[in-house]
C-alpha cells in the first residue's frame, strides 16, 4: 500500500544542506497499522508530507496505493485521508455539518453514500451533539473527532495521521484510539500515524517505525524495540534511551536499520 525506496529530502537553509530525510526505505501492506516514532525534527512530518504529495522528494522513490504522490497529488487525495493534529482541515466559521458537506462536494461523494457514512461515523465518533456547532466553538477533542470524520467520508484506503492525539485529554485520547482500532479492524483501512504518545503505540500498533536523523533506525514490533535496550521494561524508558543515545551523533551517513525479528513485511 505504501512503498518507499531510498527516499530522501534535502532542504537548503542559508546555503547549508540539511538532510531532513535520507535513504528511507519501508513497505506497508494493506490493512497494517503502523506507528512512526522519532524525536522532534527527526523527519517524521517530512516523511508524511512526501507520502501525501505535499512535498516532492529530492531522491528515491515513493508509491502510495500505486501512485507517485508528488506527481499525482490530486488523484491520490481521493484515495487517502489525512489528519493533522496541529491544524484542522475543517472550515473555522462553518458548522461541522457544513464543513463535512463541503468535503462531500470537493471529494465528489454521492449524497446517499455520504449520508450512510456520516450516520455510521456519527455513532462511532459521537458527533451528534455538535454537528450544528461552528468549528471554532468545538473543544479540541470534538474538533479532532470531526477532523477524523472529514478524512474518512470518502472511504480512503489509507489513513495518515500526524500526531492525532496531541493535546487531547485521557478520555478523548481513548475515544480516538478506540475508533482508529475499529476502523482498521472492520474496514481494513491501512493506518499510518506519527505520535509522541507511546500509549498510542502500545494500544494500537503492531508495527513501529523509528525515524532518527532522517533515516530508519528501527522497523519491527514493540517487543522488538524493547529488546534493543536490555534492562528497561517501560517503553517510555526504552524510547528515551534510544533518543538520548542518538542525540550526540551528528547527521552522519545512515545506519542500517535494525530489523525486528517478527516484522511481517519486507
Amino acid at each position: 500500500m505504501i512503498d518507499a525506496a531510498e527516499l530522501g529530502r534535502v532542504f537548503r537553509v542559508r546555503r547549508q544542506v540539511v538532510h531532513a530525510v535520507r535513504d528511507l526505505s519501508f513497505h506497508v501492506a494493506p490493512g497494517e497499522f503502523v506507528a512512526c516514532l522519532g524525536p522532534n525534527g527527526a523527519g517524521k512530518s517530512t516523511t508524511i508530507k512526501m507520502l501525501t504529495g505535499i512535498l516532492a522528494p529530492t531522491s528515491g522513490r515513493i508509491r502510495v496505493d500505486g501512485l507517485d504522490p508528488a506527481r499525482r497529488r490530486t488523484a491520490l487525495a481521493r484515495r487517502i485521508g489525512v489528519v493533522f493534529g496541529q491544524r484542522t482541515t475543517l472550515w473555522w466559521d462553518l458548522p461541522l455539518r457544513d464543513s463535512l458537506e463541503l468535503n462531500r462536494l470537493l471529494y465528489k461523494v454521492d449524497r446517499k453514500v455520504f449520508r450512510d457514512r456520516l450516520d455510521e461515523l456519527c455513532v462511532l465518533l459521537d458527533l451528534g451533539g455538535f454537528l450544528t456547532t461552528p468549528v471554532r466553538q468545538l473543544s479540541l477533542g470534538q474538533r479532532m473527532r470531526g477532523d477524523i470524520a472529514a478524512a474518512l467520508l470518502h472511504d480512503p484506503a489509507v489513513l495518515v495521521l500526524d500526531e492525532p492525539t496531541i493535546g487531547l485529554d485521557v478520555v478523548s485520547k481513548a475515544e480516538v484510539r478506540d475508533f482508529l482500532r475499529r476502523r482498521n479492524a472492520e474496514h481494513g483501512t491501512t493506518v499510518l500515524l506519527t505520535t509522541h504518545d507511546l500509549g498510542d503505540v502500545e494500544r494500537l500498533c503492531r508495527r513501529v517505525l523509528l525515524i532518527d536523523h532522517g533515516s530508519l533506525a528501527f522497523d519491527g514490533t514493540l517487543d522488538g524495540l524493547r529488546a534493543l535496550v536490555p534492562g528497561r521494561t517501560s517503553i517510555e524508558d526504552v524510547v528515551a534511551d534510544l533518543y538520548l543515545s542518538s542525540r550526540g551523533s551528528p547527521r552522519t551517513p545512515p545506519r542500517r536499520p535494525v530489523r525486528g525479528e517478527t516484522s511481517g513485511t519486507a
Binding site: I54, L55, R73, R78, R87, D93, D98
Partner: protein, 262 residues
C-alpha cells in the same frame, strides 16, 4: 477549478453572513474608499480643465475601466496573493491534500462579498463617463472587452505575486507594489507619467493594456508613444500571454513548495 471556487466562495459567503454588522460596515467602507478616489479627480478638475490633455469625462472613463477591472479581480481572486500566510499557518498543507485545484482553493479562501461595493462604485463611475462621452458603437464594443482583459491581467499579477511567495515567504509586499500600485497608476492617463514608465507598462508588465492602450482606441486619441491605434486592440492577447506566464509560475511554485516544520 470553477466548481471548487464556487463551492468555497459560497461557503465563505455563508460564514460572512454570521457577522452581519461587520459585513455592513465593510460594504460601507468599500463605498467610502471608492468615493474618495472620485473626490480626488473632482479636486483636480476644480483646478484645471484638462489632465495631460484629457477632459473630466475621459479621465473618469480611464479611472472607471481600470478600477472596475481591478475591483472584479481583487474581489474574486485577490486573495491568491495570501500564499505566505497560508504557508505560515500550515493551511496550504491542508489545501494540498484535497482533491481540488490549489489555486482555486487559495483564491476562494476568505472570499468577501463586501468588496462587491467597490465593483458597484467603479461600474457607476464608468456608466456616468460613458453617458457623457457619446462613444460610437463601432468603438464602444471594446469597453467590455477591455474590462474582462484587465481583470485577467490583474488576476495574473495577483497569481504571479502568490507564486513568488512559494520562494520568498516574506515578500508579499513586493507583489503588492505591482498589483495595488499598478491599479493606482492606471487611475490617471498614463501620459502624465514619464514615457519610460509608460514603455515599461507596455512592454514589460502589460498594465497599459488594462485601460490606457485600449482606452486610447475607444476615445480615438493618438498615442503619445507613437504606436498605431490598433495596438489598443491587443489587450486580450496581452492578458492571455500574462495569464499563461502566471499559470506556469504558479505550477512551478507549488512544485517547489517547502512547507514548514511541523
Amino acid at each position: 477549478m470553477i466548481r471548487t471556487y464556487a463551492l468555497l466562495a459560497w461557503a465563505w459567503t455563508r460564514a460572512a453572513a454570521q457577522y452581519r454588522v461587520s459585513f455592513a460596515l465593510m460594504t460601507a467602507g468599500a463605498f467610502v474608499i471608492g468615493g474618495l478616489d472620485i473626490a480626488v479627480i473632482w479636486v483636480i478638475f476644480a483646478n484645471t480643465d484638462s489632465l495631460a490633455g484629457f477632459g473630466p469625462a475621459e479621465v473618469m472613463f480611464l479611472y472607471g475601466t481600470s478600477e472596475l477591472a481591478f475591483a472584479i479581480s481583487d474581489t474574486l481572486f485577490g486573495n491568491v496573493d495570501r500564499v505566505s500566510q497560508h504557508i505560515r499557518a500550515g493551511t496550504l498543507d491542508v489545501m494540498l491534500v484535497r482533491p481540488a485545484a490549489t489555486w482555486a482553493q487559495v483564491a476562494a479562501d476568505r472570499f468577501g462579498p463586501h468588496r462587491i461595493g467597490r465593483i458597484v462604485m467603479a461600474a457607476a463611475v464608468l456608466c456616468v463617463a460613458l453617458a457623457r462621452l457619446d462613444i460610437p458603437l463601432g468603438r464602444a464594443w471594446m469597453v467590455p472587452v477591455m474590462v474582462v482583459s484587465g481583470s485577467v491581467i490583474f488576476t495574473s499579477m495577483f497569481t504571479l505575486g502568490g507564486a513568488l511567495q512559494f520562494l520568498l515567504t516574506d515578500a508579499p509586499e513586493v507583489a503588492n507594489a505591482f498589483t495595488y500600485g499598478g491599479a493606482m497608476l492606471n487611475q490617471y492617463p498614463l501620459s502624465v507619467y514619464d514615457p519610460r514608465i509608460v514603455m515599461g507598462l507596455t512592454y514589460v508588465l502589460p498594465l497599459a493594456f488594462v485601460n490606457w492602450r485600449p482606452g486610447l482606441y475607444v476615445l480615438d486619441r493618438p498615442d503619445p508613444l507613437g504606436l498605431p491605434s490598433w495596438t489598443g486592440l491587443l489587450s486580450p492577447a496581452a492578458a492571455l500571454a500574462l495569464a499563461a506566464v502566471a499559470a506556469l509560475a504558479w505550477r512551478a511554485g507549488v512544485r517547489r513548495y517547502r512547507s514548514t516544520g511541523s
